[in-house]
């Protein structure tokens, strides 16, 4: 059977762009005898191979699952539309990279949900696997479909399509889940329902949406989530790895032949974030901070270098310069990286901790551009969003860059933030011009070169589990007006202005704070052939609005409605450690323009310390 699929796949590869996406056979993949393993797990990334292969979470979970002798975890990605067309034409189902077997033959299919706009790819991948979309239509003989990743913190729009979700960090939960599956199969007492019930009762972080009845108020808001069994949790508490030094980190990687987005070693330095930017979901849901020690990190980096041959190590964490031992770590790494011609890079920089010492150690020297994220154009608004960054910090940071001969600076901003006025938009243009002027004032600048300051402006999307979860998003008209106004403010020829498409951000906002009723819209979207909606070339706003309407829903109910303080949210079923009271306090502080210190300066009692965690900066619970 599967040999046949491989052959057919082989035949069509000559006719698709980038066939390297589908040919498999990477060094470092895990191959097992399917007759000898007890559970086969297909880890799906609902976007292109190049993006999926770059995901650190998958790299970790792939290793964790394959460490178990009786589990074989394989990978699958969304086929690009040209390939999808071939698959449909020649009746080739979606297959896993390692074995080439169809996904429908697996025991468990896992999807990581990294961004809302990938939901249509999830459904399309189920469809291409020949599986019914709705969980209730998949029988005991079909794979269990489990989701995870940041969007699972409010996965209600896709709840109907998943049997369950693993909330929080999956290293332990997924293994426990798969082991339970094996056990019940072996004991001959497996039915999908019994298995899910036992998982919900006994494995922390497992959320089975069909076990909760949802009722709505007349105004469309949630009335209640009611568990249909007495002995399942009323709220699902996220899982975390308590000690990151002891937590699994891969010692080898699946090595792509074609170039991927993160084609390098990604060294996870710590989890969580000590800041608390009020728009940022990651900064809340990954709390508390848990650091690894430099010695462990060095060992992990060196091991990966030897087993992959990569010549670049990216220190990846939410805000890397906040790592308490960054100097020690970089010094230790440089002891052997220099000698082995390996470069270090940092994906994210905060201006207040960006120093010359740090810059000298990292590889961004290779590129002539540096990126900072002030997020807002005035100090007032930066205080509102709790982005504790001052213009002086930014100027000092860009001077470090200019001293080193850099000429290009990229600045990230957001528009549509709560309390924003035209002054804040003007502030964005002014800040950019000030950076240009700072360049000309710098005596050490690269002579004879003009600077280029790029401002990239995203549209604010209120997200669950943030202090702004009660806020409304600007309407399309407001966004468009602001985007144009800001364009008019940018008069400096050395400043390049780019902005995101507010229409995508609007759909993202609908899905981010959506409820289960949106499942209907997604189902229609899948029927109508939606996929790759995170890609501009495939995103069609009008069609999105039409499927939302066909489902009897209204986009503005989700995107443009200010929630009451006591409204029950679809994501209240999840406990991410941080309390709603803390988020509310932060929301109120935002309106007062009052900033909150970082966790390292002072604990603000968010509640995440109740989860535990080594090398965090939380007070003991």
């Amino acid at each position: 059977m599967s040999r046949n699929y491989r052959e057919r796949l082989d035949n069509v590869l000559r006719a698709v762009q980038k066939p390297g996406r589908y040919c498999g056979g990477e060094y470092g993949q895990t191959l097992k005898d399917k007759e000898k393993v007890k559970a086969r797990f297909a880890f799906c990334f609902p976007d292109s191979y190049e993006i999926g292969m770059s995901n650190l979470g998958i790299r970790i979970l792939y290793g964790v699952l394959n460490r178990e002798d009786d589990i074989w975890c394989e990978r699958a990605y969304a086929p690009w539309p040209d390939m999808e067309e071939m698959m449909k034409k020649y009746d080739i189902p979606l297959t896993a990279a390692e074995s080439g077997d169809p996904l429908s033959e697996f025991d468990i299919i896992g999807f990581t949900l990294q961004y809302e706009m990938c939901y249509t790819n999830v459904l399309n991948m189920l469809k291409l696997s020949g599986l019914p979309l709705r969980a209730e239509d998949r029988g005991d003989d079909m794979p269990i479909v489990i989701g995870g990743g940041p969007c699972s913190y409010n996965a209600e729009p896709v709840a109907d399509f998943f049997d369950c979700f693993s909330i929080g960090e999956g290293e332990e939960a997924l293994v426990e889940f798969t082991k339970l599956y094996i056990k019940m199969k072996e004991e001959g007492r497996y039915t999908k329902k019994d298995f899910l019930l036992e998982a919900a009762k006994t494995i922390g972080g497992i959320y089975v949406p069909s076990f909760y009845d949802v009722t709505y108020n007349e105004n469309g808001t949630i009335k209640a989530y009611t568990p249909i069994y007495d002995d399942i949790p009323k709220k699902i508490t996220k899982r975390i790895m308590k000690d990151m030094d002891k937590s699994y980190f891969p010692d080898k990687l699946v090595m792509p032949y074609i170039e991927t987005v993160q084609d390098r070693i990604m060294l996870e330095v710590y989890r969580g974030c000590i800041r608390g930017c009020r728009f940022c979901q990651a900064g809340i849901i990954y709390r508390p901070v848990r650091e690894k020690t430099p010695a462990v990190l060095c060992r992990q980096a060196k091991c990966l270098y030897e087993n992959t041959g990569y010549d670049e190590i990216s220190l990846s964490s939410l805000s890397i310069s906040d790592y308490s031992q960054i100097q020690d770590l970089t010094t230790k790494l440089l002891e052997w990286t220099n000698e082995n011609k390996v470069s270090l890079s940092l994906p994210s920089l905060r201006v207040d901790s960006f120093t010359k010492e740090l810059m000298d150690k990292i590889a961004t020297v290779r590129s002539s551009s540096l990126t900072f994220a002030p997020e807002a154009g005035t100090q007032r608004l930066r205080d509102v969003i709790n982005k504790n960054v001052f213009e002086d910090d930014l100027m000092r940071a860009v001077n470090v860059a200019f001293d080193a001969g850099k000429t290009q600076v990229k600045l990230y901003f957001m528009n549509g933030l709560p309390t924003e006025t035209s002054e804040d938009l003007e502030g964005i243009a002014k800040l950019a011009t000030n950076v240009v002027n700072e360049y000309y004032r710098n005596p050490n600048r690269r002579k004879g070169k003009s600077p280029q300051v790029t401002i990239s402006v995203a549209c604010f999307v209120p997200k669950p589990f943030t202090p702004f979860q009660w806020e409304t998003q600007d309407t399309l008209e407001e966004f468009e007006e602001k985007i144009e106004y800001l364009g008019d403010c940018v008069t400096d020829r050395k400043v390049r202005y780019t902005h995101h498409d507010p229409r995508t951000s609007r759909i993202e906002a609908v899905l981010a704070r959506g409820d289960r009723r949106l499942g209907k819209a997604l189902e229609i979207a899948c029927e109508e052939g939606f996929r790759f909606d995170a890609w501009e070339e495939y995103f069609d706003y009008d069609k999105w609005i039409s499927v939302i309407e066909k489902a009897g829903l209204d986009a503005s109910f989700y995107a443009n409605r200010r929630r009451d303080d006591d409204e029950i949210f679809p994501w209240d079923i999840i406990d991410c450690g941080v309390t709603k009271e803390f988020l509310m306090r932060e929301r109120n502080n935002a309106y007062l323009g009052k900033t909150t210190p970082s966790c390292r300066e002072k604990c603000s009692a968010c509640g995440a310390n109740t989860l535990g965690g080594e090398r965090s900066c939380c007070p003991q619970k």
């Binding site: 057919r8 082989d10 035949n11 069509v12 590869l13 000559r14 006719a15 066939p19 390297g20 589908y22 040919c23 498999g24 056979g25 990477e26 060094y27 020649y90 090595m255 032949y257 074609i258 170039e259 270098y305 030897e306 087993n307 992959t308 041959g309 990569y310 010549d311 011609k341 290779r366």
Partner: protein
């Protein structure tokens, strides 16, 4: 030949790696192959010689880039070592970090230059509707014409060339048992006059009713099997 003791960073040793690139990996481009080998060399732990300067990298020189879709049993890659290591050990180390579809066949000290390559030999198998002895005859007739004018994409646009002089030998047969047309062709492979085996496919598609319908029922594979010197007979090593 350098004695092991004399090999150093200042005096690196050239070695030649003969490898195969087969199966699904025929869909990996030359550029991606280069990037892959850079990493393979690091993880194998062989003492590769690095270029000096701003962006040091192991020096890799490939003999004849393979186009996407073509497999090979005879790819050659020259690298330099900054310290002695036996050819057997180099081979073993490389294969321990490679896969079956991309693996090393032999490692040796080269005694020739890639510029001396004159021809490359290809085995082409074609699954096509109406494959028969007659079709084999027609293909033979097509390639014994002179000239064989074809369009070739070059940097300066489309150019008409005569491919007849670039074909050294060409055998065609019909394999009734497998229902395949088999071509065995030795084609010019110098840097000035490189004839891609895909050009033969194009010629057949253009002039004969071959490979004209559906990719699922009609398909072909190409395998590069040997390299020759300018005489078209002596194997290039």
């Amino acid at each position: 030949m350098l004695s092991p003791k004399m090999i150093s960073d200042e005096n690196p040793q050239n070695i030649r790696i003969k490898f195969r690139k087969v199966g699904m990996l025929r869909y990996i481009s030359h550029l991606d192959l280069q990037r892959t080998f850079a990493k393979v060399i690091v993880r194998s732990g062989i003492p590769a010689w690095y270029t000096k300067g701003f962006n040091p990298h192991a020096k890799l020189v490939f003999a004849l880039p393979l186009s996407i879709g073509t497999q090979s049993e005879c790819e050659l890659l020259d690298i330099r070592l900054s310290r002695y290591m036996s050819c057997d050990e180099v081979k073993e180390r490389l294969n321990s970090v490679l896969t079956d579809e991309l693996s090393v066949i032999d490692v040796y000290e080269p005694e020739s230059k890639f510029q001396d390559i004159g021809y490359a030999k290809y085995e082409i198998n074609i699954v096509t509707n109406g494959a028969s002895d007659d079709m084999a005859d027609n293909i033979r007739a097509l390639f014994s014409k002179k000239p064989i004018l074809m369009f070739k994409h070059t940097k300066s646009g489309e150019k008409e060339i005569d491919i007849a002089p670039l074909i050294d030998t060409l055998n065609v047969s019909y394999d009734g048992e497998c229902d395949l047309i088999r071509l065995s062709a030795t084609l010019s492979a110098t840097s000035e006059n490189y004839l891609s085996p895909e050009m033969l496919i194009t010629a057949m598609k253009d002039s004969l009713e071959i490979l004209s319908t559906d990719i699922m029922s009609e398909n072909y594979t190409i395998m590069r099997t040997a390299l020759y010197l300018a005489d078209g007979k002596t194997e290039f090593k």
